[in-house]
């Protein structure tokens, strides 16, 4: 289970759900803070530009970010469950085996977030895969590549939104597995495309995306709308 702080301070930007900043000297230095800053910080948080108002609210702070990851893992798991249950034409033995592995990894991620978030977890999301032809290798692997690259960029972009170092490490444990998936699927589509210029930039850096960018792409495959407007933005 993720740790929850004993402190409840309603209305604060810091939502009180994450563990204290064990690695932060600053927290220890400041025995107290200014009520003034609560207002300032709260104002900074407002972000009316976020899409998805009226959908499932991911929540605030670290819990919101973890729910964001949970939403993406739900989408990925649902996709691979269907891929394995209705294999595309001429799926090779290796593809069958590895796609089943990936399905299991994504189910494990999904169930982990569900268990860890416990009562803070968002509901199960309804997916819409009507644009995917599950009998066609190109359609399935193309979608898989898009999902894996998207997942990598989502975790890379969400790292900075997390305040608890333990949660950051957990996200790190998952994102490298998503990157391994992405590399293999890309190689199945085209050999040596595991880290080509559509994934990695001139500095040798992988992609990173904000929750808004990710959800505008993932939203195509989600019947249930997701509201990211309360997530931290920096």
């Amino acid at each position: 289970m993720l740790n929850e702080s004993k402190e409840e301070q309603p209305g604060l930007v810091y939502d009180g759900l994450a563990k204290p900043f064990s690695r932060r000297k600053f927290f220890g230095i400041m025995g107290a803070g200014a009520a003034l800053m609560v207002t300032a910080a709260a104002c900074k948080k407002s972000n009316p530009g976020n899409p998805g108002k009226g959908g499932v609210d991911l929540g605030t702070g670290d819990i919101g970010v973890l729910n964001y990851a949970y939403a993406l893992e739900q989408l990925e798991a649902a996709f691979y469950i269907k891929v394995v249950a209705s294999p595309f034409k001429n799926m090779s033995d290796m593809e069958k085996s590895y796609l089943a592995d990936i399905r299991d990894h994504e189910i494990a991620h999904r169930e982990f977030f569900k268990a860890a978030l416990s009562t803070k977890a968002i509901q199960s999301l309804q997916v819409d895969f009507s644009s995917i032809d599950f009998s066609d290798r190109t359609s399935v692997l193309g979608t898989a590549k898009a999902f894996e690259d998207l997942g990598v960029s989502a975790y890379n972009g969400a790292g900075k939104l997390i305040t608890n170092p333990d949660y950051l490490t957990l996200a790190g444990k998952i994102v490298s597995v998503e990157a391994r998936h992405a590399a293999w699927i890309r190689d199945m589509i085209m050999v040596n495309s595991f880290a080509d210029s559509t994934a990695v930039d001139m500095n040798g850096l992988d992609m990173q995306r904000s929750p808004n960018q990710v959800l505008s792409i993932a939203g195509v495959y989600l019947k249930t709308k997701v509201d990211a407007s309360n997530l931290p933005t920096d």
Binding site: G33, A41, A108, T163, K173, V175, V177, F194
Partner: protein, 283 residues
């Protein structure tokens, strides 16, 4: 009194003030979190104490960030020099295999250049290594590293999987700076892509030893697929199936094997663990 304005003023003369105080965001959050208990009159005292500690501390966040980036740069130099020699050795099968080595070499070189510039930008001095800094036989453990294709790939796999674990372990040290944390994560996932591909290459070339051991793009339990215990430290701990106190095997009534549970999460290593692993590769 507006703290934001005070901090902004200080930032005019000391751009690193937010680093010294942790980051802007966390500074604000820390204030918010502890609010409600202080009288406004006491605020200047609290601020004075805060700044005194921030500027006096020998391990201010900026130093931690520079140390962490230099550690990453050290590993990137190791990988970069390895692949430069691996490509130059000319023993990789021409075509896809040689292309893959070249792609990875170029990324590692880019990481070196990027980190050097990031460290300089942060006010630090980048560490520096040359070809003669390294001993890729690891003091004789891999005498044929540049003459035997299987050995070369085994060392490459170990470097990539170790690199992934190193970045993962260091990420919390960068949590106070959004830009450096994000960049490190962006390198981390590229190393994971490399690792997956090298593992595919080893399997495709049927270079797995001992017999019967499989290697997939993801790490199964603590299996390296490499027949020397010299690399085992890079895989120990990967068999973990408990995350944040949650057992992943068969989680939620799903059929998730221990193998799949271990594959689904890569594990970090500490700086000390990484240093112990890579030290034999330094001359």
């Amino acid at each position: 009194m507006n703290l934001q304005n005070i901090l902004s003023e200080i930032e005019q003369t000391d751009p690193a003030v937010y680093d010294r105080l942790d980051t802007r965001r966390n500074t604000m959050k820390s204030f918010a979190k502890t609010s409600g208990k202080i009288a406004l009159a006491a605020l200047p005292l609290a601020l004075g104490s805060m700044f005194q500690k921030a500027y006096a501390s020998p391990t201010a966040p900026t130093d931690i960030i520079i140390d962490t980036l230099n550690f990453a740069l050290t590993l990137e130099y190791l990988e970069s020099n390895f692949y430069i020699r691996a490509v130059a050795a000319g023993i990789a099968p021409s075509g896809d295999a040689m292309s893959a080595l070249t792609i990875i070499r170029d990324h590692e070189n880019e990481h070196v250049i990027f980190l050097k510039s990031a460290i300089s930008a942060a006010g630090g001095t980048p560490v520096s290594f040359t070809a003669s800094s390294f001993d890729f036989t690891a003091k004789g453990t891999f005498p044929n590293v540049f003459s035997d294709w299987g050995t070369m790939l085994a060392v490459a796999q170990t470097f990539e999987d170790t690199g992934v674990r190193a970045y993962k372990g260091q990420a919390p040290n960068l949590i106070s700076n959004n830009d450096y944390l994000t960049a490190a994560l962006q390198i981390h996932s590229v190393e994971a892509r490399h690792a997956a591909h090298i593992r595919e290459m080893r399997k495709a070339a049927n270079l797995l030893v001992p017999a019967g051991v499989d290697v997939k793009p993801w790490i199964t339990l603590n299996q390296s697929g490499i027949a020397t215990s010299a690399v085992q430290a890079s895989y120990n701990g990967e068999e973990n199936v408990t995350q944040a106190g949650v057992t992943i095997t068969n989680i939620g009534g799903q059929k998730i094997s221990a193998s799949a549970a271990s594959e689904a999460f890569d594990e970090p290593l500490t700086k000390d663990q990484i240093v112990a692993i890579v030290t034999p590769f330094f001359a």
